[in-house]
């Protein structure tokens, strides 16, 4: 999601309900400078992942590139957190020295997350670096390097007449190739094979570009160059046969290559990955232990109940309150009573995007504000019905166990899927616990 996509509604022309609806767009990730942005640090894990990463990257030796995996449930606010990380890294140091130069790119913008493999990512990274670094116009830096040109010519030669790349020069070549990879699923294998054959050279060329860019950035006074690649967590987990799946193919089989870039890099990855029995291998490549961005915990602790005045609930309400304010209304005007808001916050399970989803769904039940208890329950029921269809039969038995918070989760395929598909949420407060998505508790099926 691009950071430029800030919704600035015209409060004067639209009805309040429409304004509220628009500021609650679930797919929109907020930048820390957005007035709707809420600091959830105190109610996520026991550590602030973003601050931790920013500190670690600032301190990392420039000789060796550091790699960070950024994960958490979908919709938990990862992209917003990454924007925060970007801002922190770009900040000047106490001594007034310029911060890092950060290249931020979201693969889900340009690639098909239903089917994404390493060659696609490599082409995407090359294209993004060329475009974004080129735009920055760093003195002494040229984004069309001899190495990239050479690899581009080789790939083009290999593809021959199969793909319409004639006349496309290296400056736009990789971007064009990335588009082809997304838009032409039928030619995808062919394109991938061509890129794969030159993947080592392309990786080398990308590293050469990065070395040059980093040196230019440092000469310009920056602390270095950091690459943030968002959107990989959205990669759909699909079985590829032979016991392999799309996640393992990219994140595990290619972990070595992912960790071969020569500048500090942050990748978002699906939360299920850290529950993969093969995650050790990823860690071998990437190095450090990578804590996920936790859910907002509504229970203060695993064994405590959800109370309306628990810090998590307060933060969820703050989130809604800020949105209301931004929509030119208030909590009191937007809801029939506080109970309705508390109901939605509790049923979100501390998942910000679900809460936004409920708000929009409830708005859809009404012609005007306030949101009523009835509309709120209907919104939750709709999502519940969707879950009823989504949860595989085999999962129901396993899910029952998580009606009550659990300290551990089996590391098998089924439970990975349950985490990835948000049937089970992971919380953290010093210790981890897992429990079902609260909406599942509303379903009869969980109990029979």
């Amino acid at each position: 999601m691009s950071e430029t996509l800030l919704i600035m509604p015209d409060i004067n022309d639209l009805p309040a309900i429409t304004r509220l609806y628009r500021v609650c767009e679930p797919v929109e990730s907020l930048n820390p400078i957005d007035p709707r942005w809420v600091d959830f640090d105190d109610v996520r894990g026991d550590e602030n992942v973003v601050e931790l990463y920013a500190r670690s990257l600032r301190r990392a030796t420039p000789d060796r590139a550091d790699f960070k995996l950024f994960t958490g449930h979908r919709g938990v606010g990862k992209t917003s957190e990454l924007y925060r990380l970007k801002g922190m890294l770009e900040e000047k140091s106490a001594g007034g020295k310029k911060g890092f130069l950060v290249v931020f790119s979201d693969v889900s913008d340009r690639l098909d997350v239903n089917d994404l493999d390493f060659p696609d990512l490599l082409v995407f990274v090359a294209a993004q670096l060329q475009q974004q670094l080129g735009k920055l116009q760093i003195p002494g830096f040229d984004p069309a390097t001899t190495y990239l040109r050479h690899v581009w010519d080789e790939i083009r030669k290999l593809l021959g007449s199969e793909v319409e790349l004639k006349g496309v020069e290296v400056e736009a070549g990789f971007a064009k190739l990335a588009i082809e990879l997304r838009n032409r699923p039928n030619s995808r294998e062919l394109l991938r094979a061509a890129v794969e054959q030159h993947s080592t050279s392309l990786l080398d060329a990308v590293n050469d570009l990065l070395t040059s860019a980093e040196a230019s950035a440092r000469i310009a006074g920056h602390a270095g160059l950091v690459l943030i690649i968002d959107g990989l967590d959205k990669l759909v987990r699909r079985d590829l046969g032979n016991g392999n799946n799309t996640h393992d193919r990219l994140f595990i089989d290619r972990s070595e290559q992912l960790a071969s870039l020569c500048v500090h890099t942050v990748y978002t990855v699906p939360i299920s990955l850290i529950y993969s029995p093969r995650f050790g291998q990823v860690q071998q490549s990437v190095g450090e232990h990578n804590a996920p961005v936790s859910m907002i915990r509504l229970r203060p602790k695993c064994e405590e109940p959800v109370l309306t005045d628990s810090p998590g609930m307060i933060k969820m309400r703050e989130m809604v309150s800020k949105r209301c304010a931004h929509a030119g209304t208030s909590i009191t005007d937007a809801f029939d009573n506080l109970e309705t808001l508390n109901y939605l916050c509790e049923l979100s399970g501390g998942h910000p995007r679900h809460l936004m989803m409920f708000l929009q769904a409830a708005c859809n039940e009404l012609d005007e504000l306030p949101i009523t208890r009835h509309a709120a329950e209907k919104a939750v029921r709709r999502y519940g019905n969707a879950l009823l269809r989504e949860v595989p039969d085999a999962a129901w038995d396993a899910l029952k166990k998580f009606e009550q918070p659990q300290r551990d989760i089996p590391k098998d395929d089924l439970h990975q899927q349950m985490l990835f598909l948000l049937f089970v949420f992971e919380y953290m407060n010093g210790k981890i616990w897992y429990e079902v998505n609260p909406v599942l508790r509303t379903l009869e099926r969980l109990r029979c």
Binding site: D63, S212, A215, Q281, S285
Partner: protein, 957 residues
């Protein structure tokens, strides 16, 4: 699946048949995970690797070491007495360079329960001490079945492990390269000249933009760019700039940074450049200086690499024994200890190269096929494997097994390079293929490959050195085709300037040697000699390159030999060339030089001595070396001696039974054609002119035609003309010589062959009685050429022929004066016994014609005959004996004449030429007739002489 424990575990296997093919791939994944884990460890870390095959395990350790050149990977084998693993490992690391430790052999302890107990409790109890005592990654390697016992026996210790990696056993087929070296900047070998230029500009711009920055990271990037730029400059032939970058841009920075290792590595690269430029002493000095540096750093691997490089320089200097000692005593054991299979294979390749240089082809072949090739196969190093196959092909080629060599290159090496997109290596392999085709005499095809395939690739890649080498090859082929002018032009205008630009004095001197070869062929002996003595020899002397110096002296000896200065040639070979090869242990070159010495003995008529050398020294050496082709060539030369001694049957037997089949088997068409030419000569000597002619026309000539070898074709035609001449078909002979051979040699700029052909024409004119024209040709055309070429021997021979003409014209005094004042002293001075005897025979002829029988008789019996006897030249001996008999007849001493003639009969028989015996018999019959002993005369004429005549070609009688 292995038990995963509390940490992440990476398991592969057990493998089902369907997934077995990906075993290598899985091992590769595990391997990379392990490497990454080691690389990322910031102190002690524990890894457990299971691998059931010790061979695979050692291979993997070797790969690991090779793929992390910056680290020293220690391999520690647990001894039977090592119960405390921590102490044992710590002991290994004491004083050694820091680096990860591979612990192997723990399975041996697991057989003894009590001992195992001690080991495991030791591990558990001392767990906390490991990170302090061993601040490096430690990898325990053990068979999979023992993993459970170990982890349950020392749970506390093994709970610390970062990872458990399982490696399946690998067969050679499954292997593939696991780990390419980490990205280090270097020139992409696939870059075209244009791309190289662009890259150089890009790097220069980056360096310029970052010049003022003292940011450490920027400095390091800049050093990387300088390094790549230096390599680019080197590839593009700007050696001085490459050297300047290394010395002035890189070295001072590393010095300032106190980066000892980087400095030493840069020094090594400087030594590489100096070595390539032929500055061996300086390269050696620098390399030797680096040894203590790596010793201080405790980096045994890099030390071994430097020792290997030192050995390489010594090899180039021809100090083979010393190079071999370093490689076998120092380098190999270190690499073995480090478990670095790849580097070990590289060192073994060097060793094989030494054996090749020494001519010990079988041993070299054994090393490459039994040791090196399987290693690269096991490592999945496809490229290195193909390169090794190329080297094996080289050896087979040297052994004369051209077909097999060609097969390996075209079926194995070339397709690999093609598949890998290694266009440079492909071009180099094509160069080798062209070499073999050239050796097989397929000059057109060889030339096509070089000019159409290899050269354009190397040009596009801007690889100047290889381009020059390829051009040198093209010149060689043109030379073989007789296109001497064009060959000379390429050597001078294309090849030499490149070596000059590259500052490669060695290759330049070698190219000069080739230019001298062409002058030698063209007969421009003085010019050839000047180049060798003024240019090539001093260079090799300055470079301290004993071998090349000796080879150049060999070439000088060749020229002296051609000039007829046999004594000096012999001295050079015996005193300068041979001792060097002996000292270098180069038996092959020694045998070759001995062969040349035998050549001189042949020319001087010392046939017995020549035969002894060939049979006792040369032949057994080539036999021992497995050099089939050289052996056959030597046998051919032995046949030549037999022929010179008149043992025509023996000579023919050797050629047809031994030599010819060998060349046929080797697919060496050219050598086969040469052997057939020799066979034709024997038939001619035996008087079987028709058979000789048939061989020349049907067997020899078509080969040279097929090979497009204009020069040898012309030579073969001259030989055909000689047969026509012998058959009395003077006009046919003259046509061939004047209309065919002469223009060819003129066109080829081959002065000597032209002069020799003119000599043959003069022979015909003399036979026709056109003495004036013959004399004109001899004095105005032939003689000046030999004078100009400095070929005193051939000049004296021509003077002898001029004397013949004067004698035929009746100007006996002039003829005698020329023979006694000019020709004879020259032959005497040159030690050319045979030529001397021939000249004396001519003097005796003149004296006989003048009636000075006594003096003539004295010369024949005291001077001429003893020489032929000594030379074992039965044919000339028989001829001289008949002439002695003629003198007796002229004196009226018929009994004496009969005695001499009868004595000559067995000699004539030995000569294998029926005509001699027929001539002697004819004279005997004539004397008997004159004495009126008609019955006996008739018997001889009908029973002895007639059958011969029938056997002989009518026209020759």
């Amino acid at each position: 699946m292995a038990k995963s424990g509390t940490r992440s575990t990476r398991c592969f296997g057990p493998l089902s048949a369907s997934v077995a093919e990906s075993a290598a791939e899985q091992a590769g994944d595990a391997f990379r995970a392990l490497r990454r884990g080691i690389a990322r460890s910031r102190g002690f870390s524990l890894h457990v690797c299971t691998c059931d095959s010790p061979a695979t395990r050692d291979q993997l350790i070797g790969n690991l070491a090779a793929s992390m050149p910056a680290l020293t990977v220690h391999r520690f084998e647990l001894a039977d007495t090592d119960d405390d693993v921590l102490e044992a490992v710590a002991h290994v690391l004491t004083g050694a360079s820091p680096g990860p430790v591979m612990v192997v052999g723990i399975e041996r302890a697991l057989r003894d329960d009590a001992r195992l107990e001690r080991i495991l409790s030791g591990l558990n109890l001392r767990r906390a001490e490991w990170p302090m005592r061993i601040p490096f990654p430690v990898v325990f390697w053990l068979p999979q079945r023992l993993l459970g016992r170990l982890t349950s026996g020392a749970p506390d210790f093994f709970d610390w492990r970062s990872d458990t990696l399982e490696f399946p056993e690998l067969s050679s087929i499954e292997s593939r390269p696991f780990a390419s070296r980490e990205w280090l900047f270097g020139v992409d070998p696939q870059f075209s000249k244009q791309e190289q230029r662009e890259r150089a500009r890009e790097l220069e711009a980056r360096i310029a933009a970052s010049r003022d920055s003292d940011d450490e990271r920027v400095c390091r990037s800049r050093m990387g760019w300088w390094d790549e730029l230096a390599i680019l400059k080197l590839v593009r032939g700007d050696v001085d700039e490459a050297l300047r970058i290394r010395r002035e841009e890189e070295l001072p920075i590393y010095e300032r940074l106190g980066a000892v290792r980087e400095k030493a590595i840069t020094q090594g690269k400087i030594a590489d450049i100096l070595q390539a430029r032929g500055e061996l002493d300086e390269a050696l000095r620098i390399l030797r200086e680096q040894l203590p540096v790596y010793e201080r750093l405790g980096d045994m691997r890099e030390k071994a690499v430097i020792q290997g490089n030192i050995a390489h320089v010594l090899m180039t200097r021809g100090q083979l024994d010393e190079a071999l000692r370093i490689l076998t005593d120092d380098v190999l054991p270190t690499l073995e200890r480090l478990g670095d299979a790849r580097s070990k294979a590289a060192a073994q390749t060097h060793i094989a190269h030494i054996f090749v240089t020494r001519g010990e082809l079988d041993e070299a072949l054994r090393i490459l096929t039994d040791d090196v090739l399987p290693t690269f196969e096991r490592l999945g190093a496809v490229r290195e494997k193909a390169i090794t196959q190329g080297k094996i092909a080289d050896i087979l080629q040297a052994r004369g097994e051209l077909d097999e060599a060609l097969r390996i290159l075209t079926d194995d090496a070339l397709p690999t390079f093609e598949r890998l997109g290694e266009i440079r290596f492909k071009a180099l392999a094509q160069g080798r293929i062209a070499d073999i085709l050239q050796a097989r005499g397929q000059l057109d095809e060889a030339l096509r490959i070089l000019t159409d395939d290899a050269l354009p690739t190397l040009e596009r890649l801007g690889d100047l050195r290889e381009k020059a080498i390829t051009q040198g090859r093209i010149a060689d082929i043109l030379q073989a085709r007789g296109q001497l002018d064009e060959a000379l032009r390429i050597h001078r205008e294309e090849e030499l300037p490149i070596y000059e630009r590259l500052g490669d004095v060695r290759e330049k001197a070698a190219a000069q040697g080739k230019i001298a070869d062409i002058f030698l062929i063209r007969g421009q002996l003085d010019e050839a000699l000047r180049i060798l003595t003024d240019d090539a020899l001093p260079t090799f002397e300055r470079l301290g390159d004993l071998r090349e110096k000796a080879i150049t002296q060999g070439k000088i000896a060749d020229i002296l030999q051609a000039r007829g200065e046999f004594d000096e040639a012999l001295r050079l070979r015996r005193e300068e060339e041979l001792p060097v090869y002996e000292r270098l242990g180069d038996v092959r070159e020694k045998a070759a030089a001995q062969g040349k010495i035998a050549d001189i003995f042949v020319i001087r008529g010392q046939l017995d001595e020549a035969l002894r050398i060939r049979i006792d020294d040369v032949l057994p050496t080539f036999e021992h070396l497995g050099a089939v082709r050289e052996k056959a060539i030597t046998q051919g030369k032995i046949a030549e001696i037999f022929k010179a001694r008149g043992q025509l049957d023996d000579a023919l037997r050797i050629l047809t039974d031994d030599v010819l089949p060998t060349f046929e088997r080797l697919g060496d068409m050219r050598s086969k054609a040469v052997a057939q030419g020799n066979i034709a000569e024997i038939y001619m000597a035996r008087g079987q002119l028709d058979e000789a002619l048939r061989i020349r026309i049907e067997e020899e000539l078509p080969v040279y035609e097929r090979l497009s070898d204009v020069r040898h074709k012309a030579v073969a035609r001259v030989n055909i003309a000689v047969i026509f001449l012998a058959r009395g078909q003077l006009n046919e002979a003259l046509d061939i010589l004047a209309d065919d051979a002469l223009p060819t040699f003129e066109h080829l700029g081959d002065l000597r062959s032209k002069a020799l052909t003119q000599g043959r024409i003069a022979d015909i004119l003399t036979a026709r009685g056109q003495h004036d024209e013959a004399l004109r040709i001899r004095t105005e055309e032939e003689l000046p050429v030999y004078e100009c070429l400095g070929d005193v021997c051939q000049k004296a021979v021509t003077q002898g022929k001029i004397a013949d003409i004067f004698q035929a014209r009746g100007q006996l005094d002039v003829a005698l004066r020329i023979l006694t004042d000019d020709a004879l002293p020259t032959f005497e001075r040159l030690g050319a016994a045979r030529e001397k005897a021939i000249a004396q025979g001519k003097i005796a002829d003149i004296l006989t014609a003048r009636g000075q029988f006594d003096e003539a008789m004295r010369i024949r019996t005291e001077e001429e005959l003893p020489i032929y006897e000594r030379l074992g030249d039965v044919r000339s001996q028989a001829t001289a004996q008949v002439k002695v008999a003629d003198i007796f007849v002229a004196r009226g001493q018929f009994d004496e004449a009969l005695r001499v003639l009868r004595e000559s009969l067995p000699v004539c028989e030995r000569a294998g030429d029926v005509r001699f015996k027929a001539a002697a018999q004819g004279r005997i019959a004539g004397i008997l007739q004159a004495r009126r002993q008609f019955d006996e005369a008739l018997r001889i004429r009908t029973e002895e002489q007639l059958p011969f005549r029938k056997r002989l070609d009518r026209k020759t009688i």
